[in-house]
């Protein structure tokens, strides 16, 4: 059976409920956050590019920042009936693909992950899975029926898949 798929772009988010999957492709230094309420089966995904909006003077699309993007995601999840204290968060990405790239501006992955953890903590949302850092990219799909996330990584030119 082919599941209905909602695609999340870069600096983008989506929510849905009970069926289908939400997918985002190629998280490098970007961070992907999935939130899922196992009771209502409402779930959502954020694909954020930069850590704090304030640091960049809130310029442009708010979904590209971890903190303001998370606010948007939470607001839309609440509309679908998700209860905040039941939400389970999973975070992915924040990798650093080229080890010789050491310009601080370009080492954004770590800061993205730190901000994601801090903001989730501030919202009192528990992180149940973390798969971050390293030198590889990740593609993630949230299954809205189960709340499970399929993670795909590349190793030696081949795709490795796991479900968390």
């Amino acid at each position: 059976m082919i599941l209905e798929e909602i695609k999340v772009g870069i600096g983008d988010y989506a929510v849905s409920k009970a069926k289908g999957v939400i997918t985002t492709y190629g998280l490098g230094s970007c961070v992907g956050i999935t939130l899922y309420d196992p009771v209502t089966k409402a779930g959502g995904m954020l694909h954020a590019l930069l850590p704090e909006a304030k640091y960049y003077e809130n310029k442009g699309n708010p979904a590209k920042y971890v903190d303001t993007g998370l606010e948007l995601l939470l607001k839309d999840l609440a509309k679908l009936g998700a209860i905040k204290r039941r939400l389970e968060a999973k975070i992915f990405g924040g990798g650093h693909i080229f080890e010789n790239v050491t310009n601080e501006n370009l080492m954004i992955g770590k800061r993205n992950v730190e901000t994601a953890k801090r903001e989730l903590k501030r919202h009192k949302i528990k992180i149940v899975v973390e798969d971050t850092g390293g030198n590889g990219g990740r593609t993630i799909s949230l299954n809205l029926e189960t709340g499970k996330v399929k993670v795909r990584k590349v190793s030696n030119g081949k795709v490795l898949e796991k479900i968390v």
């Binding site: 983008d12 492709y25 230094s29 590209k64 501006n105």
Partner: protein
Amino acid sequence: MDYEEYLKNLGELEKSALLETFNIGASHAADALSRMINKPVSINVPNMKISAIKHLPAEVGEDIKVIVYVGLGGDFNSHAFFVTDLQDAMKVYDIMLGQEIGSTKDMDEMAKSAITEIGNILISAFANALSQFLGIVIEQTPPQLAIEFLPAVLDLAIADVAQYCDYVILIGTSISVDEIEFHENFFIVPHVEDMKKIINKLMEGL
């Protein structure tokens, strides 16, 4: 200065002047590669696209690619990527070694280092041509190679320019080596500020 407005309102004259400049770079890059592998190489007229960052994964595709990255600095801060399919990379390597196409079945360390060098030569020749033509200084980082999901690798460039703007400029090309068409692509993701300086310089010269 609102870079987003600037990019969206870029005139046809500005765009074609820029495209012509990148074309000069591309033809130098083709010559350099041709000398290296001793086969005819051509790089077609680059196209230039201004894309919303949000839609970039859909735009560039989500496949696994062999990617060589060189960071450009000085008067033209930008990120340059040479992107090729796994199969095409192995074909180019075969052509380079003068062996039958299909001989290489795995991207081993030798093949990786050869493709890194090809990417480096293409990007360097491109950057040198640009710097001579425009009379500007362009610095280059050493090349690095990854075999990865393409959008994951472009992330570092996108995160860098997204600080200023929600749009990126993508310059794509296709390359033929020894009359075989490859799906190689250059992606140049420049800082809008430096891009604007270059356009101004070009327009002054007209």
